[in-house]
């Protein structure tokens, strides 16, 4: 049990000066994510989910507390942390293949091996044949697949996703969710997934970290003990769903 968790979020607080006085965005947030675990972070808007995402990603500094990845303190963004945003943030001047290969170009990988890896990733996210396409010609769902492949390319220790399916239609969202679960079981990645969609959290996560607001804090951490694939119509699903919803409201 003394094994180091993949991620340790240790007593994170974030305060800043707002227009109407000091704002406590996050207060004493702590939790661990085990290796290979799928954890969802849910909460109402204004509970500091996105702030917490940015702090874990090393994009923003906490007022106090620290984030550790494999026991090492996160000081800034880097290839250990794969980021996937709601708005994709693809490099529009690069083709799908060149977006996916971006991080690999930074590494000492021979060109042929790199191309092979890019091809494999494109296939894994179901975009075979679109390697030479520019992002402007892709739908939202396809763009998010590219973003996911790009983040996975550098083999990060943690995949950090901020409402990644928040901007796509319901049908595409369902498809992307099950594809993400497939990729997760295929790669064994550790995933921390921020969402405001309780159904999504129950469908995906091993554990759901439920946050509350004023100030942003952890309400409860719920273990979702249902076999996958999970179905909305299961009784157990409904029970978890209601329980988390009640916590948030």
């Amino acid at each position: 049990m003394s094994e180091t968790p993949r991620v340790r979020v240790d007593d994170i607080s974030k305060h800043f000066e707002g227009e109407t006085g000091p704002v406590r965005a996050l207060d004493g947030v702590s939790f661990d994510v085990a290796d290979g675990e799928f954890v969802c972070l849910v909460g109402p808007s204004g509970c500091g989910k996105t702030t917490l995402f940015r702090i874990i990603a090393g994009l923003e500094a906490a007022t106090s507390g620290a984030v550790y990845l494999d026991g090492e303190r996160v000081e800034g963004p880097g290839p250990d942390l794969g980021l996937v945003f709601q708005e994709y943030h693809l490099f529009p001047w690069r083709t799908v293949a060149d977006n996916v290969g971006f991080g690999l170009e930074r590494q000492d990988v021979p060109a042929s091996e790199r191309e092979q890896r890019v091809d494999d990733l494109i296939e894994m996210v179901g975009l075979s044949g679109f390697g030479d396409t520019y992002p402007r010609d892709l739908s939202g769902g396809m763009k998010q697949r590219v973003a996911l492949a790009r983040a996975l390319a550098v083999d990060p220790g943690l995949l950090l996703m901020d409402e990644p399916f928040g901007a796509v239609d319901a049908q595409t969202k369902k498809m992307l969710q099950s594809e993400l679960l497939d990729i997760w079981s295929e790669t064994g990645k550790t995933i921390l997934f921020v969402t405001h969609d309780v159904e999504e959290a129950v469908k995906l996560a091993d554990r759901v970290v439920v946050m509350g607001k004023n100030p942003g804090h952890i309400h409860e951490i719920v273990d979702v003990d249902i076999e996958r694939p999970r179905s909305r119509s299961d009784d157990a699903f409904g029970t978890y769903y209601q329980r988390i919803l009640d916590l948030i409201e």
């Binding site: 800034g76 880097g78 290839p79 980021l83 708005e87 529009p92 790009r150 550098v154």
Partner: protein, 265 residues
């Protein structure tokens, strides 16, 4: 299904484009014809040293081209247009990137930039003569100053507009140094603005060719100024046309380059 749709769209686009292009061309030629007729009519009411007819200008144009005088003047102008455009553009882009990227450099240089910005290149003729002399280098200096500011501001705006999120993504994919961020994200992301600046600057450089020759350097501008003093309006118009044509050729060529560089848009 998606592939089928995109192919169908690709087939449609060129034909739609040629339709539009054809219509534009017809309308444009019509406009030129009307302009020439009005010009010809107006020239009938005026002596030739005030407004020569299009035909007289055409004759003069031919004579200037045939005698080789035009090629000589153009050759001279190109010899300072090219270094002026190249140095002004290069330095303008470099300064734009550096100042938009580094708040420190921006703060340090901002007062000086604001003082220098409104100085018209023509006001720097004295410096051109003092530093470089009455030669191509002096004229190139005037042209470079004009190109510099256009490229500086275009690039500055482009770099300022680069999304912070793209930079975060790049950092999360292993980019560490500022130099690498600039190379892999900042420059490609602001390429639309940078290339628009280059294009505008190139045009401005042709305009500045006249100004840059005002203190005695040979070239098209010198030719225009000399003809003006002699009331040879047909020669003036001839060389104005040469400038316009040069601008057109370079602009069309650069636009093609720009389209290729920005296929992703």
């Amino acid at each position: 299904m998606a592939v089928d749709v995109s192919e169908a769209v690709e087939e449609d686009v060129p034909s739609a484009l040629t339709d539009v292009d054809g219509r534009r061309l017809r309308r444009g030629l019509g406009g030129v014809a009307v302009f020439l007729v009005l010009w010809g009519a107006a020239s009938l009411t005026q002596p030739e040293y005030v407004l020569p007819s299009p035909l007289v200008v055409a004759e003069t144009f031919y004579a200037q081209a045939a005698s080789g005088e035009m090629a000589v003047a153009l050759g001279h102008s190109i010899l300072h247009w090219i270094p002026g455009a190249v140095f002004g553009t290069g330095l303008g882009i470099a300064a734009g990137i550096a100042l938009a990227w580094s708040p420190y450099l921006d703060d340090v240089t901002s007062p000086v930039v604001r003082v220098l910005r409104p100085v018209p290149p023509l006001a720097l003729v004295g410096f051109a003569i003092a530093w470089f002399g009455i030669n191509h280098a002096g004229a190139a200096f005037i042209i470079a100053v004009g190109a510099f500011w256009i490229n500086f501001y275009a690039t500055y705006g482009g770099v300022e507009g680069v999304s912070e999120d793209l930079l975060d993504v790049a950092r999360s994919l292993g980019i560490e140094s500022d130099l690498e961020l600039v190379r892999t994200v900042v420059v490609p992301a602001s390429l639309p603005e940078i290339t628009t600046g280059i294009r505008t600057g190139i045009g401005r450089c042709w305009m500045l060719v006249v100004a840059s020759e005002i203190f005695g350097v040979a070239g098209i501008g010198r030719r225009i100024l000399r003809a003006s003093n002699n009331l040879q309006v047909d020669v003036v118009i001839t060389y104005i046309l040469v400038l316009s044509l040069m601008f057109l050729v370079v602009d069309v060529a650069f636009r093609a380059l720009q389209r290729r560089a920005l296929v992703w848009r």
